[in-house]
């Protein structure tokens, strides 16, 4: 069973009278335990690709399956639930909620998933990314690398099928960036999770299993 399966995905936007094809006939399968990087220049369609794979936007054409479940016909409400239950997101600037402590960043996801007894488990998740001393710190009290590690822990709370990382090293120096990507590698391999990382940081590409290139909306294996 594939964790993520994209078949013939096309996305077009209309700009005035013109139709702009942002993604052209994209095919991609990601297996459980596979760590994939998508690279490409800005404007190539990386973000659009991520919004499709992350169940945030529907493609114009094609089919997307998440652990064999077709999501292209779903309405917004069902897509929200898919994201809540099956996808873990790691954003470029970690995007933590400013008024929540590190552990509450994770607890809110458990709450939304109606999970009971989440406290201990979420504390363990933070301990795994090396933050057992920062449980009650607010984002403003954490460094960039620590914030990104909280974001990684947050993406694991719902035990997702797929983890999507949007330029996770963009706001970090090379050392901390590499630590974060190593962490994603470990999660992918040890917990058998599919991780798809969009990046243009070539220094971390040695850590991934497969590299794909997006250029002018077309995806190719590297």
């Amino acid at each position: 069973m594939n964790a993520l399966e994209l078949k013939n995905i096309t996305k077009t936007y209309s700009d005035g009278n013109e139709q702009i094809e942002v993604l052209k006939d994209i095919n991609l399968t990601v297996k459980p335990g596979e760590f994939v990087a998508i690279v490409g220049p800005s404007g190539a369609g990386k973000s659009t690709f991520l919004t499709m794979a992350g169940a945030l936007l529907q493609p114009t054409e094609g089919s997307i399956k998440l652990s064999n479940q077709e999501i292209t016909s779903m309405n917004n409400k069902d897509l929200t639930n898919i994201r809540l239950e099956k996808i873990g997101f790691i954003f470029q600037n970690s995007e933590l909620i400013p008024y929540l402590t590190a552990q509450d960043q994770l607890n809110i996801v458990s709450k939304m998933n109606h999970v009971a007894d989440y406290k201990k488990r979420n504390q363990n998740l933070l301990a795994e990314v090396g933050l057992n001393d920062q449980l009650n710190k607010y984002p403003s009290q954490l460094s960039g690398g620590q914030k990104q590690r909280v974001a990684i822990a947050r993406s694991l709370v719902n035990d997702p099928v797929l983890i999507l990382a949007d330029e996770p090293t963009a706001s970090l120096d090379s050392k901390r960036g590499r630590q974060v990507v190593q962490m994603l590698q470990t999660i992918s391999h040890e917990q058998n999770k599919s991780v798809v990382m969009v990046t243009h940081d070539e220094r971390v590409l040695d850590l991934v299993d497969k590299i794909y290139q997006i250029e002018d909306g077309a995806l190719s294996a590297n």
Binding site: G54, T80, L84, F91, M112, N113
Partner: protein, 351 residues
């Protein structure tokens, strides 16, 4: 609630300021409501606290007691055992021997064997056969009148002794002085006539006369409806202003949070979840503000002088409080629309 409470705890300054503003607005609304009620009571309490259901007035008296005049012939013609007479004379009185301190009052000439007989707080009541004695409103005590004092009607120079005090009975902002029909004759400008006949029961139409209910009579007490109209207008505007002010505040706070809302939606928060959070925040803040302003209002009630009539009974207080909660919730509508429009896609691609 989780998010709402965490945010309230974290942004204490922001939400304390907001609570302060809502407190001030609710305090003002409650205060003006209390003053409006106090003034209303000053205008009508001598009528509104009685059991009167119906008033029989002379035709064409415009529903005003003072414009109606019923003669003995009229009373015979109307011929209804349920009816008792009431005559109101608005006059100025002074204490015996003190020409400098005059007070405007309303003489209520009533039958002391009827249901109109006032209850006494202090001193003695009088009867239909009492001579030269009256029962007066507690309000006169605030003007320095005591039991046993003599009052003089400056018009007719009739002199009466205060036998007892009733509670704060007033009519058209003047304290009420109750007297029996014999003594009523001595101050009347049209002896042998009365203003109106009243009944505890609902009276059907009487041919040749006007029958009206208590609410209509109260509306036509001189100055009453105009005064209440102005105050009601002020209160309505306060409510309207509150909706706008609170609406703008909540909207700005929501705008400020838009990026986070996008992130939350991206990680699976539904619009309903986020909307419920905003609403519970609003209810918590407004509830807190109301508790504080209610405490202040109760304190205010205790220290206000008698010259500033203030009345806010529990039912009206609770009604105003709940109305304000509704107002606060209504004011979030624009913010809720904003929340529903936040696109989770905005979380992708950085800023």
């Amino acid at each position: 609630m989780f998010l709402a409470i965490k945010e309230l705890k974290h942004s204490k300054l922001k939400f304390s300021l907001l609570t302060t503003i809502i407190f001030l607005v609710t305090f003002l609304v409650l205060f003006i409501t209390g003053l409006a009620n106090g003034l209303a009571n000053e205008g009508k309490s001598a009528i509104s606290t009685t059991d009167i259901q119906s008033f029989v007035l002379q035709k064409n008296s415009n529903n005003r007691i003072s414009r109606s005049n019923l003669t003995n012939d009229d009373i015979k013609k109307i011929n209804n055992d349920n009816l008792v007479p009431l005559t109101i004379n608005q006059r100025t009185i002074q204490k015996n021997g003190d020409k400098n301190n005059k007070v405007d009052i309303s003489f209520f000439t009533i039958d002391f064997d009827s249901f109109l007989k006032p209850e006494i707080n202090k001193g003695n009541n009088i009867t239909n056969s009492t001579k030269k004695q009256v029962v007066v409103s507690q309000k006169l005590a605030d003007d320095g009148y005591k039991i046993g004092d003599d009052i003089i009607d400056t018009n007719t120079k009739s002199k009466f002794e205060i036998a007892g005090f009733t509670d704060d009975k007033s009519y058209s902002h003047t304290p009420v002085v109750y007297l029996n029909s014999t003594e009523g004759e001595s101050i009347s400008q049209q002896p042998g006539t009365i203003n109106t006949l009243v009944s505890k029961k609902n009276i059907n139409d009487v041919k040749g006369y006007t029958v009206v209910d208590k609410a209509t009579i109260i509306q036509n007490i001189p100055g009453y409806s105009e005064e209440q109209g102005s105050l009601l207008m002020m209160i309505s505007f306060l409510y309207a202003i509150s909706i706008v002010v609170l609406g703008v505040f909540f909207y700005i706070i929501t705008l400020e949070k838009t990026p986070q809302l996008g992130t939350l939606k991206a990680i699976g928060a539904s619009t309903r979840y986020l909307a419920n959070n905003l609403l519970s925040q609003v209810v918590v803040i407004t509830g807190l503000s109301l508790i504080i302003s209610n405490i202040f209002i109760l304190g205010m009630k205790m220290i206000l002088p008698a010259s500033m009539p203030f009345s806010l009974d529990l039912p009206i207080l609770l009604l105003t409080d709940s109305l304000f909660i509704i107002i606060a919730v209504v004011s979030t509508i624009i913010s809720l629309i904003k929340i529903s429009k936040v696109d989770p896609v905005s979380a992708i691609g950085g800023n």
